[in-house]
């Protein structure tokens, strides 16, 4: 009897929550109906990927606030600006493109604007607007890196900047000096010394990280850098530069051990940032915000050996080519707003990312904020921005499928006893097929 009562109560509770689910959203629905009634012509929909709750990722809220502020400032215009956080942005964009349309405006983040959209002429060319309004400095790296035969299809408000982070107290304990980060040989020796400590600490987090080793070794020669900046060709696959870069990275990985590899840095990052068990982490400048307070004094940013940084505009804000003049005008206005000094400063201090606007004085901002993580971030960003060689992430030029094939090959090479040369030969075959 009692049990029956409990189950009845539970069903009732669930029923209530169903009602709550519907009831809560009914007002929202009517609100939307009204908006929809105004018709698409007067709404500029902006899809972005900052959907996370504030409690989980404060930066997402900062971005949403930045967007909302723009919407508010333009609320009296004929076109309404409507930012929409979406979780499955890539599939939504790809479904739209397959139907020959494009979102009004979308922040494709690091995914890059789909080639299929560009080849169908669905994406607005931003270059004339940037030139006309002299926004070259404001868009920074976007201006050169996103230039496709004189067209610019996206502007990323933050630059995906990568170097490495190292734990100076582990270095000290292992008797390694920072000079070890000057070239890959001494880097390898340093990693060996760290593993020799035998207290559970290890060299670096491989896998995704080691793909940046390949990337930066390629960039260390003029020829290799050119290869990274072009599409992947048969010639590149068969080049000595690529062979050397892959094999060096693979050997480092094997010495480092397959138990310390991951295809996604996020999986193991805490071992470096929180638990202090790792010597080096290959991660972007944004990692500054992830460092645990207890380790903030010992973790420092550095460039890749050879004074090389990887910086990519990646994707960013892209605008549809098929909108009314008013809507396009507002979209362009928004890009100007996102790259303006004010917003860029917020992106630096609050989102903790490397802003694209080159006129922002990062160090001054960091000093002003006095926040330890921001100071670290400023240091990392300015190192990247002033590196001898700045190169794009091959993920963007060679494509994510190629990048993944390389990462998989590196991860397999990390297994002790794997023959790196044989694996490289089969990787070459894979890559040739992928570009075919």
């Amino acid at each position: 009897m009692k049990r029956k009562l409990v189950s009845v109560l539970l069903v009732a509770a669930m029923g209530v929550s169903v009602l709550a689910g519907c009831g809560g959203s009914n007002p929202v629905k009517t609100d939307e109906d009204k908006k929809a009634a105004v018709s698409d012509e007067n709404v500029l929909e902006f899809y972005h990927g900052y959907y996370q709750d504030k409690s989980e990722w404060a930066a997402a809220q900062v971005m949403r606030d930045i967007y909302d502020e723009f919407a508010k400032a333009h609320s009296d215009g004929t076109v309404t600006f409507k930012p929409i956080p979406v979780e499955n942005r890539d599939d939504i964009v790809s479904a739209k493109v397959a139907g020959g349309s494009f979102p009004d405006m979308v922040d494709v983040g690091g995914a890059g604007v789909p080639q299929s959209a560009i080849s169908q002429n669905l994406v607005y060319d931003l270059k004339p607007y940037i030139d006309e309004n002299k926004l070259q400095d404001a868009v920074g790296l976007n201006y050169t890196q996103h230039d496709m035969d004189g067209h610019i299809y996206a502007v990323h408000d933050q630059i995906e900047s990568r170097g490495l982070w190292y734990n100076s107290s582990i270095f000290e304990k292992a008797g390694v000096s920072v000079d070890a980060l000057k070239d890959w040989n001494s880097f390898g020796e340093a990693m060996t010394k760290i593993s020799a400590l035998n207290d559970g600490t290890y060299g670096y987090i491989g896998g995704q990280g080691s793909s940046y080793i390949v990337n930066s070794i390629m960039a260390s020669t003029e020829n290799g850098k050119k290869m990274l900046e072009s599409e992947l060709t048969e010639e590149i696959i068969n080049s000595d530069e690529f062979a050397n870069a892959f094999k060096t990275a693979a050997k480092l990985d094997q010495a480092n051990g397959s138990d310390h590899t991951t295809d996604d840095n996020g999986n193991l990052m805490a071992e470096f940032n929180t638990n202090g068990k790792v010597g080096v982490l290959f991660n972007g400048v944004w990692n500054a915000s992830g460092i645990d307070a207890s380790l903030v004094d010992s973790i420092e940013p550095s460039l890749f050996p050879g004074n090389i940084a990887i910086a990519s505009a990646g994707g960013g804000l892209a605008v549809s080519n098929k909108m009314s003049d008013e809507k396009t005008k507002l979209a362009l206005e928004f890009i100007k707003y996102m790259t303006s000094k004010e917003v860029q400063e917020k992106i630096f201090t609050e989102v903790q990312a490397n802003p694209c606007n080159t006129t922002v004085d990062l160090n001054a901002l960091a000093q002003k904020s006095g926040d330890a993580a921001t100071i670290k971030l400023a240091k990392a960003c300015s190192e990247v921005n002033s590196a001898d060689t700045v190169v794009i992430d091959m993920n963007y030029t060679w494509g994510p499928d190629v990048d993944k094939a390389i990462i998989n090959a590196l991860m397999e090479c990390a297994v002790s006893g794997t023959d790196v040369d044989t694996r490289f030969e089969s990787l070459k075959k894979e890559l040739l097929a992928l570009i075919g």
């Binding site: 669930m14 929202v28 959907y51 709750d53 989980e56 990722w57 979406v86 979780e87 939504i92 790809s94």
Partner: protein
Amino acid sequence: MKKFKKEKTVKDMPIGTKIFTYLCLIWALTVSLVPLIWLVLSSLKKDPMARPGFQLPDSICIDGYISTFRDLHVLRYFGNSLFVAGISVLISVVMISMSAYVVARMEFRGKALVNILLYSTMFIPATALTYPVYNLINNLHLYDTRAALILIYSCSGIAVSFFVIKNYYNNIPRELEEAARIDGCGYFKTWLMVIFPIARPGIMTAAVLAFLNNWNEYYWASLVLITREKLTVPALLSTFTTSFNTNYNGLFSAMVVIILPPVVLYCIFSKFFLEALSGGAVKG
């Protein structure tokens, strides 16, 4: 009276069978409890990586649970999912229990084709479905409505329901139908009054499977719903993964929380289909 009979059956089990039964049960418990216990333990650790495996947490951290309930509106997600999954299960199961009956029980031309077509739906990749479905939803002006998701869920996964329910119909003796027919029932009445009630446990099994699928479905939900207030349960998990990091404490806590409603519902409803069957509801 009946109960007494069954207990006697147990006592009469040969010793080998008894041992075998207990081994199976221990295996079943181990297999299902190991990941569950690990999941619950990990959800109570501040950093599941720092004290890995089955070590007890050094201090119990319920931050993940707190944020799931306080900041993330878990009840709203539950409500959305129960509503969407519930209604679509109802629609698809009623629809399929009709067509499965016809295919299981009647001879007609094209029956094999119906079987094959439905079966092949399982093998159409989501990538091929995405654009047509997205387009359909937009043309019906259902984008970003729960109705869109109900439509998709009612249509997808019909193959599994079809096979489960058809299989159950096959177990029902034909004499029952014939008796009903002789009593003057038409086809529809026979199905509604005689067959449907007997097949209810099988139909409910199909409903459970469909419900679990819909409960955990993320791809379509994140494709056609963009208003956060309408999102379903799996979206709760994605909030713990940002582009740069994963909050494992929160993620595991949310995983524990989102299986609670199905578990509770299952406990309540299992007696209607499993227990109802014991002793052979389908008499020959």
